[in-house]
């Protein structure tokens, strides 16, 4: 018994160290020379996938198939890896892009804290950038002489050298084509890839770059020396120990999995993601290595013929014994014949085959963690892709395959598939959305988790596009939270910001210690009489804004027309539906307004006076309007005396102004106007005019200065001509006046009724809309994505299912169309700034709950489960 155990221990139990003797001999630029071969390494550019139409997907896939098919005869290796989000770089750029941050308030948050909080968030989350590289074997290792002359940039002296150079050029060009958009890796990137592969799962040491673009002989030890690989024979994992001098050794357990059988698919119609993409959704880091030959049809022919014959003979054998052959045989014959046909008669796209093993590596800090990650991966593939994933012994050899230039096994788990299937892996489709620079808004959640940056002024300053961004979601969809986060960023960055928030929760931003001295809370219900007088709300164009007298004249005429329209709409809003149905009403109103004209100095009382001078029906209307003007707050619209230029100056001395209208009873967008109470009826023109009041803010600062306007709860805007005109004007002026404008409402129609919105908006954010019809409108109109994805909109920020509690990690989800027109699902992140989170909380009782139950540092909830943080955190 004991002897047996001892023997077993001797044979299996003792850990061995691996002699990491690399195949690589030399690295020159993006070329890797091994003992026998010359490889070129390329980085594939991210491609769009989520929320794109089937045609776009098919086209992308087709381009990929073509690129691979053209590589027939080459060995290739697709290697994906990830690198941490470059938070340092992000912060540096954000800082450089913020010339005048909000002045410090003694004792509280400074701009540094703001930068730091975002960086910490980005550091501690799993928001990695994905790197997809492709190695192509160019041929046998060239003589050293040729390589040397190439490095020195000399013209090749021999025919072989010239040929090689030509080949490399051709390959570079081919891979740079659409679908791949690949670039040769830089020497630094090569070094990084080598490091990453030798020390999988470990942080790459600081000296991952070397001066110059060439690595020879001894230099290559720099990749293998800092790490030791340990394994037990027939073990499940490889233990990697990183030995950075002067630091604590870092340990990782790595398990390499390999793909088994893969199902027949309809791609991309079946709606299942590309098969290499599933790992992006796991909260587990995974790296891929697919190595093999792209077999040209001529080399395949005999093998395929053999397979067909064998299948037919097996069938014949069963029949000789008068037995029915198993269905697998029949199927095999059918597919063998199809394959034979593809290989002998098909074009390159169908004929070329990829043959080789496909591996995925996962790691953890302990063996248990690593194995549990492996199980997660196997489970995901089995469940949603029907792909078998095996975890075979011989881990060291498998792990070696991840290092560029290493050989791969030619027996066991060899996959052979058409390039079409291989291309359907699409590891390089990614979820990049947002602006290249700017503050951190949140992260994508559809496929992979990537950080999303959003700079509202990017479209105007860089793309010459308008900066209006409509935000549409149902109540509780997270609109106000989003507005709060955006405003927090812009104020901290020192940009003048104005928020119209009728119901008022965002006014709490003004009380934040760091903002308090720079903020003003304007209560419109306390404002001077005449603050919302329609004729004064449309700014008078200034001659210096225009290039010619004619343009100026036209703008003035436009302003006059807009004033009259706004006055007309305001009066109509005050009238009950019964009166409005009479066509005579509009005529009387129009006549009266035409008479008083469209200059800034008009007082609404003049219109009533005009009506009184009219016929009996006109006097009736005048009575109704008179009555409305006597409502509380009526004096805002109907000043008793000739109103002075109103008090918008109050808004220009502070960075943050929040305008609220407490006590106003806002009508619900869902109820019919016929059923509105008089209070609701009267609230509407106030709300409408408040939006105009707020948007005047644009013209109070210099044109080039970055400004921000937020119109929360701007429902019904699109129902009225003046509202649509305002939207058009905002779209036009946002670019000229460098103002980011965000309007939030509950219905996409509020924006879509304006007409050609695509020319007016620089992006859109759509949150949960439970009604499918409405969701479809938002999807096609605002996001300009195919209608089929509308169900995604209905499932955003889901309400808790019966019996379960509120899932905080699924709140604040939006579908975001950025200024480039890319669309992806994101979650707005507000938790990196604790101060902000408390200010923006509108769910009753939630802060209490969160502080007690949520473990610290929880970002991605799946991670909590995986690492048992949820339980331990609560216990601790």
């Amino acid at each position: 018994m004991n002897i047996g155990k001892g023997l077993k221990n001797r044979v299996f139990g003792r850990e061995r160290v691996v002699e990491l003797d690399l195949e690589a001999r030399e690295i020159v630029g993006h070329l890797l020379v091994t003992r026998t071969s010359l490889w070129g390494w390329y980085g594939l550019a991210p491609q769009e996938w989520t929320f794109t139409s089937e045609d776009t997907r098919t086209r992308l896939w087709d381009q990929n198939v073509h690129r691979y098919a053209q590589l027939a005869g080459h060995a290739i290796r697709v290697r994906t890896s990830s690198r941490p989000f470059p938070a340092y770089d992000f912060a540096r750029k954000l800082d450089q892009d913020t010339p005048n941050p909000l002045p410090d308030v003694p004792g509280v948050e400074t701009f540094d804290t703001y930068l730091e909080a975002q960086q910490r968030r980005l550091h501690t989350s799993l928001l990695d950038d994905k790197i997809v590289t492709l190695g192509v074997r160019l041929g046998d290792a060239p003589p050293v002489k040729i390589l040397r002359s190439m490095v020195r940039g000399e013209a090749p002296s021999t025919g072989a050298g010239a040929k090689l150079l030509e080949e490399i050029k051709q390959l570079n060009q081919h891979l740079a084509g659409t679908g791949f958009d690949a670039r040769p890796l830089s020497p630094t990137q090569m070094a990084w890839l080598m490091h990453r592969s030798c020390s999988l799962g470990m942080p790459v040491p600081p000296h991952a770059g070397v001066a110059g673009g060439e690595w020879t002989g001894e230099d290559l030890y720099a990749f293998t020396d800092p790490v030791d690989w340990f394994y037990k024979p027939m073990g499940r994992t490889v233990r990697l120990v990183g030995l950075t001098p002067g630091e604590k050794p870092v340990e990782r357990h790595v398990a390499v999995l390999t793909l088994g059988r893969m199902p027949t698919r309809e791609f991309p119609q079946d709606g299942i993601d590309p098969w290499m993409l599933a790992t992006d959704r796991l909260a587990v880091p995974v790296e891929w290595s697919a190595s093999g030959y792209l077999v040209p049809p001529t080399a395949l022919r005999s093998a395929v013929e053999f397979e067909r014959n064998r299948a037919e003979n097996i069938d014949k054998h069963y029949r000789e014994h008068e037995e029915t052959p198993p269905p697998a045989v029949t199927r095999g014959i059918k597919e063998a014949i199809a394959t034979y046909d593809e290989v002998t008669e098909g074009d390159a796209r169908t004929a070329v085959r990829f043959a080789g093993p496909i591996r995925a590596a996962v790691w953890g800090t302990t063996e248990d963690e690593c194995l549990s990650h492996a199980r997660t991966l196997m489970d995901r593939y089995g469940e949603s892709y029907r792909i078998e994933v095996a975890h075979p012994p011989g881990q060291v050899e498998l792990l070696r395959e991840f290092i560029p230039g290493e050989l791969w096994a030619l027996s066991g788990y060899q996959r052979r598939m058409s390039v079409g299937y291989f291309a359907a892996g699409m590891p390089h489709v990614s979820s990049s959305v947002g602006t290249p620079t700017g503050p951190y808004l949140g992260y994508t959640t559809a496929t992979a988790r990537r950080a999303v940056l959003h700079d509202g002024h990017f479209p105007m300053e860089r793309l010459n596009a308008p900066g209006v961004v409509p935000i549409v979601a149902e109540p509780g969809g997270g609109k106000s939270t989003l507005v709060g986060v955006l405003a927090y960023h812009s104020v901290t960055r020192g940009q003048p910001t104005i928020i119209l928030d009728p119901s008022g929760p965002l006014a709490r931003l003004c009380q934040m210690p760091s903002f308090a001295p720079h903020a003003r809370h304007l209560n419109l219900t306390d404002a001077e009489p005449g603050t919302l007088a329609p004729w004064q709300l449309i700014p008078e164009p200034q001659p210096q804004e225009f290039r010619s007298e004619r343009e100026y004249g036209r703008a003035k005429a436009r302003a006059h027309a807009e004033r009259k329209q706004l006055g007309f709409d305001t009066f109509r809003m005050m009238l009950p539906n019964t009166t409005l149905r009479n066509p005579a009403t509009d005529k009387r109103l129009r006549d009266a307004i035409r008479y008083v004209g469209g200059s800034v100095s008009v007082n609404p009382h003049q219109v009533i006076k005009m009506l009184r001078a009219g016929d009996e029906y006109a006097r009736e209307i005048a009575d109704l309007l008179e009555e409305s003007s006597e409502f509380p707050l009526g004096e805002l619209i109907f000043p008793t005396d000739r109103s002075s230029e109103f008090t918008a100056e109050a808004a220009t001395d502070k960075q943050l102004v929040v305008i609220t209208m407490p006590g106003l009873v806002l009508p619900s967008p869902d109820t019919d106007r016929d059923h509105w109470s008089i209070e609701e009826l009267f609230a509407q023109p106030l709300l409408h005019l408040a939006a105009f009041y707020t948007s005047r803010f644009i013209y109070r600062r210099s044109m080039g200065e970055r400004k921000n306007i937020f119109l929360d709860e701007s429902h019904f805007m699109g129902n009225w001509g003046s509202g649509r005109a305002l939207f058009v004007r905002l779209g036009r002026d946002s670019r000229k006046w460098n103002t980011a404008v965000y309007t939030s409402s509950q219905h996409p129609e509020d924006v879509l009724s304006v007409g050609r919105v695509e020319a007016l908006i620089g992006g859109a954010l759509v949150g949960r809309l439970e009604d499918l019809d409405i969701a479809e409108k938002a999807m096609t109109g605002l996001l300009r994505a195919p209608k089929e994805y509308a169900t995604a909109v209905t499932k955003l920020s889901p309400r808790p299912a019966p019996g379960s509690t509120f899932d905080v990690s699924r709140t604040g989800e939006f579908i975001y169309r950025d200024c480039y027109g890319r669309v992806d699902k994101i979650r707005v992140d507000r938790d990196w700034a604790p101060e902000l989170a408390t200010v923006l909380e509108t769910t009753p009782g939630l802060p209490r709950l969160a502080s007690k139950e949520a473990p610290p540092q929880l970002f991605i909830d799946e991670v909590a489960d995986l690492f048992g943080l949820g339980r331990d955190g609560a216990a601790a």
């Binding site: 002699e19 701009f111 790459v204 600081p206 199927r331 011989g394 058409s418």
Partner: protein, 157 residues
Amino acid sequence: MSRVPSIRTDDAPRRLRAVWLGPRGHTLSWAWEYRRWATFGAIWLGFSAVLGLILWQAEPLLGLIAGPMWAMPFAHLVTARLMPYVDYDRPIRYWRRVIPGEWKRSQQTPTGERQVRVNTREIVVVHDWSMEVLRTLYLRSTDRCAPLAQPRWGWRQ
């Protein structure tokens, strides 16, 4: 764009394995693949030889007859135990590579005696793509790197 036909791997025909159904016209009640017959045969031969030799010592005739006979159930048992490990994705060729490989090309003792090799190249710190980025924070006031108290890779522990 026209509908694209379905995509598939070439597995179906390649997975097929011929079975031996017995002599012509007499189908056996079990269907073993040829490679299983071969494995069984090889193991049986081996066992028979060993058993036969042992019995030969006592009685040559017993060795000749009883050896192969007794070896047969053993061989069957061992084959039945081994065959689940051999399939399309793990052919015998694969095991012939993996098993010796696990005990080859490695040192028994993981000691720190390995020679320390000196890198001859000048090493420079590159900010992008490197760990340096991970451990530092960018701050405006100092315009320099400040150490990050909680390194990114440590937070899971």
